[in-house]
């Protein structure tokens, strides 16, 4: 398992295409979640699909889908920035919902606020048309194992 992750992360970095980070994850395909470099910045993306809708009357994205995008984007950021031999394990995640998610594509940015030996603290925010008006933000902790250390 570690080998697979290392291989995918290396491929993604060598190719300068973080899309390979999401490609092997079945759930990412189901959700339309991916990772892209935009002007040198790693962004998470969630392509709109009917399966993401939580409220058909508005319509609005299901809150869970925004949590999923924020968590995934945070993990992509750790894989991209930090050396890790295993998939980061989410310890916990707090999502704040700021605005209704429209039935359009959603973007997200993860920022590692602290990278320790065992834990990474990450903040992430998601937006749609206007980056200045985030629709949801999250803070999360992840267990990581640096590449120098054995994965126990």
């Amino acid at each position: 398992m570690s080998d697979d992750i290392v291989r995918y992360v290396r491929q993604a970095r060598d190719a300068g295409d973080p899309g390979a980070l999401a490609a092997p994850i079945p759930y990412a395909r189901f959700m339309g979640i991916g990772a892209r470099l935009v002007d040198g910045e790693l962004l998470g993306t969630m392509t709109f699909g009917e399966q993401l809708v939580g409220n058909t009357a508005l319509p609005a994205l299901h809150g869970g889908t925004l949590g999923a995008l924020l968590e995934s984007t945070a993990i992509f950021q750790i894989l991209w920035e930090a050396q890790t031999v295993v998939l980061p394990k989410t310890i916990n995640l707090t999502v704040e919902y700021l605005r209704s998610g429209k039935p359009v594509d959603t973007w997200a940015k993860g920022t590692i606020t602290r990278l320790g030996r065992r834990v990474a603290n990450v903040r992430a925010e998601a937006w749609q048309e206007d980056r200045g008006r985030p629709i949801a933000i999250a803070s999360a902790h992840f267990l990581i194992v640096p590449v120098e250390e054995p994965a126990t």
């Binding site: 697979d4 994850i25 079945p26 609005a60 889908t65 995934s72 707090t94 209704s100 629709i135």
Partner: protein, 162 residues
């Protein structure tokens, strides 16, 4: 809910049936995940999530992605809030915190239970767990706050001035 007044009881049964239908059929993401409402009581809900290969987060282990658990808890917590309200009102998740206690076991059904333990004029507070079999095998615990009476159910419509 009291069963003393047959009219009340009929209203409750109607509301339960309506909520169940809304939850499983009308909410596309709940349907896409295969979520099933299995129990609704006064201020609590129980939801079932069968394991599926396309919901896996780590293909090497078959463990479900955390996002699936987040969506499950959001849906279950929202249903619990609905049950706790004296009359149906639109609600919107203000925040939701999930602690991941253990990876969900591959090929096993995940259950979620949520309880709305406090309702104020504007806000409802809810907590819940995701687990296998019985609640001795906990996968996640959740705590959230929901805004009540939002305009057409939009998130933070009042606060955002929209």
């Amino acid at each position: 809910m009291s069963d003393s007044d047959p009219n009340d009881r009929a209203a409750v049964v109607t509301r339960l049936a309506e909520l169940n239908r809304t939850f499983s059929q009308v909410v596309p993401h709940n349907r896409a995940l295969g979520l099933e409402m299995v129990e609704l009581t006064d201020s609590a809900a129980r939801v079932r999530l069968p394991w599926r290969a396309d919901l896996v987060g780590n293909p090497a282990t078959g463990v479900l992605h955390g996002g699936v658990i987040t969506a499950l808890m959001d849906a279950c917590c929202g249903a619990a809030v609905f049950m706790a309200l004296p009359r149906p009102r639109p609600i919107a998740t203000l925040d939701l915190r999930i602690d991941y206690l253990m990876p969900a076991a591959p090929h096993e059904v995940v259950l979620a239970r949520a309880e709305c333990y406090k309702v104020t004029r504007n806000v409802a507070f809810v907590r819940g767990v995701a687990y296998h079999d019985d609640e001795s095998r906990l996968i996640a615990s959740a705590a959230g706050a929901f805004m009540l009476g939002t305009k057409r159910g939009s998130r933070r419509s009042e606060a955002a001035g929209e």
